[in-house]
Symmetry: C2
Subunit: 277 residues, 2 copies
């Protein structure tokens, strides 16, 4: 007997992952949640039938959502992560000695519970004293904040279900307000191939709010098409002009991000440049 | 009724592509060949059950296998493509005014026939007077050649079936011999995630033969995991030191490759750098 997860990405494209065990499966208040052991990518968190993170390639996503922004900011002390209940993003954030507090605002407590229990390598930092966990709606949380954070990271799931409100102009204006005067926002902005319109829309909205907006790219095999975008928006610092502290990068013993990758990830192919014209 | 191609990549990972029509399917002397119209990626060439190229994203692979090498060589006149019977690679090669002859050595005549008939946007250059088509085994062809080509491009399918011999040391030594004294080789070298050992092996072999060896990366959604590697080996010119002629790049109206991508594609994540240590 064989178990396969069939990820239905579009009407014409789906991916099958063989798995050996289901550690947890259930409906939360917001979504369907499963933890499975896949043959190819190790243990995986699956929300509404789509793989969110796996033991084997989570380092790529989590390093790339964090380090370009945190290395660009000269002195990140207060960092907010919206979403990211698996803990992988805050794990990268607290690698910076300057960071005094990392707030994690996750709407679905059950995601935090399941990742703490079944994915300790990803969720390990959730118990760090610098990390404050707030189980609430990130949209409402940000409305109350002003001039508070150095870096805000939007580590959301796809723009359906609980994350739908995290890709609109009103939300980004609230993020801008919650950032200090030299703050940086970074958001995961989906597949540049399968979700072009969303990427174009986010880039356009952020360009209208922030003086510096830069989309960057990476390859993540477990996401649709294996190609993923992030968009960084900044009130003052430009990641392309940042003087990177190479000793600091090397000291973190990362598996993906390095000085060359920092510069390279912002290089856009012509067809993606054309999206933003 | 629905038609789906199920690409079996590994024991634990497969991808499903919905298709609307089968234009051709049959066994050639070397492999099974099909041409199908997929819902997501347009018309596709499928060899032994694996998608080789699609109308929607072929530009990424074909631009990236050609332009880093052809832009690095200051005066490419004679170019050899081994494999690449779909014609996409020679289409990019003959965009260079310096190129006087592009030889295409494809073992399977039926691939050329099917792509000429069903994929004219990819195969269009096969009728160009600068292109000479030779239906024969690239391994044997190269044994006869010495000091003949400026650039040799190994545009092979996966290292099973007819392409298995195109990834070994003896073959690369023959390629080196067939290149002029300032010649450049570039080869597709598979997925850095799913075929790490092959990539490591090719990089090591080429580093032992050529003074300059550089692996580079790109995202191609229709290949396993969406992440692909190429390895360039050169007798004289280093692509990282090449002074790129930006007017020449812009004049080709490419959809992927540009000056920034040329530099960025050679930036390797730490886990891939570690492969080559």
């Amino acid at each position: 007997m064989e178990f396969w997860l069939n990820e239905k990405h579009t009407d014409g494209y789906s991916v099958n992952w063989k798995f050996t065990e289901t550690l947890y499966t259930g409906q939360t208040e917001y979504q369907h949640l499963a933890i499975i052991d896949t043959l190819e990518f190790g243990r995986a968190l699956v929300l509404d039938g789509i793989i969110q993170t796996t033991e084997r390639d989570e380092f790529i996503y989590h390093e790339m959502i964090v380090h370009p922004a945190l290395m660009t900011h000269p002195n990140p002390q207060r960092v907010l992560v919206v979403g990211g209940g698996d803990g992988g993003t805050v794990r990268e954030v607290i690698k910076y000695q300057t960071v005094q507090q990392a707030d994690l605002v996750e709407i679905d407590e059950k995601v935090i519970w399941a990742c703490r229990k079944y994915l300790p390598g990803i969720s390990c930092a959730l118990s760090d004293p610098k990390v404050r966990i707030l189980v609430e709606d990130g949209i409402k949380f940000l409305k109350k904040k002003e001039n508070d954070y150095d870096v805000i990271i939007i580590d959301s799931s796809d723009p359906i279900g609980p994350a739908a409100g995290l890709f609109g102009e009103e939300f980004y204006r609230d993020v801008c307000k919650a950032l200090k005067e030299d703050g940086i926002l970074v958001a995961q902005t989906e597949s540049p191939l399968f979700n072009k319109e969303l990427l174009r829309s986010v880039n356009k909205i952020l360009s209208g709010i922030f003086p510096v907006t830069r989309t960057y790219l990476t390859s993540i095999a477990t996401y649709i098409g294996g190609f993923w975008s992030f968009t960084l928006a900044s009130k003052k610092y430009d990641p392309l002009l940042a003087e990177l502290d190479i000793a600091k990068i090397n000291g973190m013993n990362l598996k993906y991000y390095n000085n060359d990758i920092h510069k390279a990830c912002f290089a856009l192919p012509n067809y993606i440049k054309d999206l933003f014209k």
